[in-house]
């Protein structure tokens, strides 16, 4: 428990949260690792967890009949993987494949929601952070959609 607490406390994602809040978050977490080539979750599977990458690389991909598995985005140290546990239908929207050996903090989604409901201030702090991640990713995807390099001289 104390090791997880120390790791969680040191992550920039949680900077600005009180020690008590971080302790509550750390109680929902454990350290995990995944070998290269492994799978963290697959599209359509039940989404109950979130991962904060401590080391390694993760590829989010979608599978289509025409193109097979296509990597949409890669995530790296310091990135959060997965927020499908936050909203119905609580199923993963992508495959998450391990590009290079990953160590991560694994959070229990339903537990995070539970402590957020019990302590709205903590819930707000978490939501602020997750929202920033989501907005940043959405902006990045918008640029990707623009295909800006195709016409640049």
């Amino acid at each position: 428990m104390s090791e997880v607490f120390d790791v969680v406390r040191d992550q920039p994602f949680f900077a600005g949260m009180t020690e008590e809040q971080i302790r509550a978050v750390a109680e929902t977490a454990r350290l995990v690792s995944f070998d290269e080539g492994g799978v963290i979750f697959v599209e359509g599977g039940p989404a109950r967890r979130a991962y904060l990458i401590l080391d390694g690389d993760v590829a989010l991909s979608l599978r289509t009949q025409e193109h097979g598995a296509k990597t949409i985005q890669t995530l790296h140290r310091g990135d959060f993987v997965g927020w499908s546990w936050m909203y119905p239908p609580y199923r993963w929207s992508f495959d998450a494949n391990v590009q290079s050996e990953v160590t991560a903090v694994q959070f229990d989604g339903p537990q995070l929601k539970k402590i957020s409901l019990a302590d709205p201030e903590l819930g707000y702090e978490l939501l602020k952070r997750f929202t920033e991640v989501i907005v940043t990713r959405m902006q990045a995807l918008r640029i990707q959609l623009l295909d800006v390099y195709s016409t640049f001289r």
């Binding site: 990597t71 590009q99 990707q144 295909d147 390099y149």
Partner: protein, 269 residues
Amino acid sequence: MSPVPCRILSVKQELQDTYTLEIESPRDDWSFLPGQYTMLYAFGIGEVPISISGDPSDPTKIVQTIRAVGAVTDALVGLKQGDFVGVRGPFGTDWDTSVAEGRDVLIIAGGVGLAPLRPVVFDVLNHRDRYANVTLMYGSRSPGELLFASQISEWRGRFDLEVLVTVDHGDDAWRGPVGVVTSLIGRSSFDGETALAYVCGPEVMMRFTIQALERKGLTNDRLYVSMERNMKCGIGLCGHCQLERFFVCKDGPVMTCAQMAESCWIREV
């Protein structure tokens, strides 16, 4: 300011539509600063501004990387070794590397925007001891559209340069990052309070990059961008490239965001 006919020394295809021309220097005392450009004239067709992509420590030739996007650039990339091209310049402002001395340096390029920034990489590496951490972040459309791919591999082998490359769309063979170039900013370690960034790429990419760097603590006087406008004369006379109070051909193309203020949000007219 008539174009000087200069012989093409070599032509190298970089990408499907992008070529690098090595051109003999128009005069013995020819030199340029990183970020400057020349006006290249395809005889009988027209003239276009092209950034210099070579090493500023080698004034014996002009190296220019050209993407074929219209009549003039189509003609330029169609030239062969021994053909002549008209050259005026160099023109414009430079990526002032002297202000980066002692600081972390971020060189951030998107697509063909790596070409105008390559002289900065050469210049910084030529005087590597003057700078703290140096990071090159490069975003491209796909693995097959990475400009200067072999040079990037060479730079990756250096211990004094961090090279981060991402593509918007990977392929089956690509094992590197997939995502836009701004996603690399969080992966590099630099001191946002003092670091300096040189950014070049499509304007929308630069705008998002600027915002991401500002979130990391970089102030707009430490954010350098290269603007692209309709440059014709190269000397601030014709007015084609006017952007508010600036003539991009003369006051730019390289400017700090502090100089630009709100101008970088103005759409091309």
